[in-house]
Symmetry: C2
């Protein structure tokens, strides 16, 4: 072959680096062009190489979203090593478990997390050295051997370092999702998968007219953490498009609003919890002039109707997407159907509702029975979402039995239940593990939660299964009320009954019990409501 | 691997086929949805299989741009066979040569070309059968064995046919460029290359703000022939985006204007010659209301300033691109630089001028000396354009020595001379084979031609080298004047001297002789000015 062109991560930057001046990557007071960013990535790789990092080495990063983390996103895979994006929201013991399971060779860690490092050092026999980072500029003092300071590694590195040729099918990234059983599960992705994910997801957002389109001139500020499923691919898509990239560090709603205004941010991604925080910030209404230019892609869990409405009132433009750790993550986005082309943004949002949308290009997506037969496209019959795409993880890392289930029948099983409408659009109605089976029938809890949250007094809601003497399982709703508001069990039941009358839900879906409180519901490490402790707490509530 | 996902051509259609209703493919009175198009492609593949077409078979297609040709673009590669897009503008003997050289197994041919078929049958011992096509609906009578009628093949085919799994690195398409020596040169592309070409080129046109952006809602009417370098990839990009696709058959300027109006065409591609024909059509000005919504991508040769100006006056939006047969073809498009962002469309067009633009994502592009050293980015120093990209042909088919030159030093040599400006944008100034070497210095002929065509009396111009007793070679300009206009050698020399004064060209670049006539200049099979006969005709003009 004369023409060997491997789809490696560095190739995403060809156009951005061909241009002499490029947009900036901004973190706090640090403003580096994309060119300077890659120059620092080169020096970092050179410095890491001198420390002993080589092809196949695992390098863990523990940080908020910073310019340094972005440099790691390019430098580590491009030198043929593996970037392990550590989930800092896991408990320390579980972080230790992932570092040990990944056999990480080096850890790059932010000073704020150094107390953790001391603990991790015991866990992880494989770790040969540490690189510390700091926003303060003062070098953290760490009583551990072979510890280097990030900026020293960069200044000692050579700018004439050349990244080696890397096989497109070699491992580029590795990370752990929280796992349904409490043991984190590792997934990993190759260079080729990440390049194709970037091309497919970027194309879906830019070439297809939705409520808005992504553009190379957009100013992007990701609000999905860098440690969470590649920040949905934004560190790479921003590089591909050469976008101005604003990094928010640790998320605070007031700071986010200020950054949107001061940096002219036009597009962000986030989970509903973050959007909820921002739109409910006391001074959000002072920012409507800039918020009306803000395009937001929401995913990770269902977008509550109330949050969407509030965001639209502030002028924010919204699209939704769906994906999971195992799929890098993007699988669908809320593109309009032919018949929706003429709708306003608000009408579109109503029309889409909870729907996760249409598969992005190159993704084959079905909703199926346990026998892998397609369920009808009637908008009512739930089936498991199964997919094929060029960017799905090949396995759970070192977990053959989990992998077998994931890829059973040659399709990747998402573990999500969805209905598909006649236009081919899916709406996620439940996690299979979260669903309630009442007298042999599925009750989709996510839909019920969305309807509950449309009640003005409800801040959050979770519907979980409880054991039942007659029906085996029945739903119980756990509701957190808004500050200064109150609501009774009867009022919530009456609220849901209006949707029974409208034909939205079946009467037998209405929960048997409503547990009403003012405390926030427990959350997972990625900010979603954690149903596991709720399920345990209320498992026997209907048996008493 | 659980997760084998080959980048094969059918994958481009995942989203378009997932949607229940899709835009239409239109040819004359035929209107098929994309879904119906693929259904016909399946039946065609099934029918071809019954005739003996199998993986690796070569199937030649001889047609204008029709819905049937589009079906072949999908069916033939998707069944693992090779689509040979026959260049119908080559002389019959050369067409015969390409069919024999490709070892075509079957020929699918339009009735108008059947006289050719009889001739080809003698040439091509490999051909096992013929499929005839007709717009009239009457089955052509052909005195050749094993001849089938296209629509019969489709109706006999099974709609439950399933395309087989195909290796992404297997040959999908094969075609011949006219070749500089007169012997056509074959280039071929794999499924993977065509998928990545489609993703890269579509992304460049949709995610990057240029003078316009490509969109899934666009109505596309390609005006680059299907037999010419994959029609620049549009049969595939339109399928990827699910665009309404209007096929113009044989090109006639009056018909083109009517189609733009009646079908609501919003985007087309074409060579300058076609744009020139359309904008100079006597009734073009009656169409300004629709032309002002028409986005046109021009490539294939330099866009004369005068044609661009006329098109802009009619309201047409213009971007330019650059590529070649060997590169599938897209390499660059005329994206604005940072500093040009605020310019109007007309200012942009002036600013870009002849510039072919910036490399599209995933393309690495350099301008180099014969030693593969970069020439300065000064907008003045010509160098050969060399490239790396995921969609370059691996070889000239069955031509190891040509291939060696093409890939000399690990970069693909385009044979084009370009200057690169400080923004990284290239302007093609000559074909290496066309350039004039005067006293050891290159004289870029394309730039001279563009400047000559800015003279109001000049319709077309070609600058060719002629032998010179002192300087070895000197330029001679061959000029065709507009109807009813006249111009003298002195006037043209004075016209060029104004550009010397402005610093655009060097004084010694001015041609020694101007041959002025009213006849159109000779054209190649792709509509470009054919300099070869001119060079031969005037080779000795300065020696007399």
């Amino acid at each position: 072959m004369n023409n060997t062109y491997e789809l490696t991560i560095g190739k995403l930057l060809t156009l951005t680096l061909h241009r002499p001046s490029s947009s900036e990557v901004i973190y706090g007071k640090t403003r580096n062009s994309w060119r300077a960013t890659l120059d620092r990535a080169k020096r970092l790789a050179s410095g890491l190489e001198a420390m002993g990092v080589k092809k196949g080495s695992r390098v863990a990063v523990v940080d908020f979203d910073t310019n340094r983390y972005l440099e790691c996103y390019y430098a580590i895979p491009m030198m043929g090593a593996v970037l392990h994006t550590v989930n800092i929201r896991l408990p320390p013991d579980q972080i230790g478990y992932t570092i040990s399971h990944a056999q990480d060779d080096f850890i790059i860690i932010r000073d704020e997390f150094l107390p953790l490092a001391a603990k991790l050092a015991q866990h992880a026999a494989s770790v040969k050295g540490l690189v510390t980072m700091s926003d303060t500029g003062s070098i953290p003092q760490v009583p551990l051997p072979n510890t280097h300071y990030y900026e020293d590694v960069i200044s000692s590195g050579s700018s004439s370092y050349e990244f080696p040729d890397v096989d497109e099918n070699s491992m580029a990234t590795l990370f752990y999702s929280s796992g349904t059983t409490g043991i984190p599960k590792g997934v990993w992705f190759t260079h080729r998968q990440l390049v194709l994910h970037t091309l497919g997801a970027t194309l879906a957002l830019s070439a297809f007219s939705g409520q808005f389109r992504l553009d190379s001139n957009d100013v992007a500020m990701p609000l999905v953490p860098f440690f969470h499923v590649h920040c949905w691919g934004w560190p790479y898509s921003a590089g591909l498009l050469g976008q101005k990239l604003v990094l928010a560090g640790k998320y605070e709603p007031g700071k986010i609003l200020e950054l949107v205004k001061n940096e002219g941010v036009t597009v962000s991604n986030m989970v509903p919890t973050v959007l909820n925080m921002v739109v409910n910030h006391p001074s959000a209404e002072n920012y409507t002039d800039v918020l009306s230019k803000w395009k937001v892609i929401v995913g990770g869990s269902a977008l509550p109707h109330e949050v969407a409405t509030r965001a639209r009132k502030l002028g924010i433009h919204i699209m939704t997407g769906y994906g999971l750790s195992e799929s890098a993550p993007v699988l669908t986005i809320s593109l309009p159907t032919e018949t929706e082309r003429g709708l306003t943004e608000d009408e579109m949002l109503e029309s889409i509702g909870l729907k996760a949308g249409l598969p992005v290009p190159l993704v084959e997506l079905r909703t199926v029975t346990s026998q892998l037969a397609d369920v009808p496209r009637d908008g009512k019959t739930p089936g498991e979402v199964v997919v094929r795409a060029p960017w799905l993880t090949d396995e759970y890392y070192k977990d053959p039995s989990g992998t077998q289930l994931l890829w059973s029948g040659g399709w990747m099983h998402t573990g999500d239940l969805a209905v598909m409408d006649k236009d081919g659009r899916i709406a996620i109605v439940d996690r299979i593990k979260d669903t309630v089976k009442s007298g042999g029938e599925w009750i989709p809890t996510i839909l019920l939660e969305d309807l509950l949250m449309r009640h003005p007094a409800v801040y959050e809601a979770a519907v979980v299964r409880a054991q039942h003497p007659k029906w085996e399982e029945r739903p119980v709703a756990v509701v957190s009320v808004r500050e200064g508001k109150g609501v009774t069990e009867e009022e919530l039941r009456a609220h849901l009954e209006t949707y029974v009358t409208e034909g939205v839900i079946s009467k037998f879906w209405i929960p048997d019990r409503f547990v009403i409180g003012s405390e926030q519901l427990p959350k997972t490490s990625t900010g979603k409501i954690d149903k596991k402790p709720l399920r345990e707490k209320y498992a026997a509530i209907l048996m008493q």
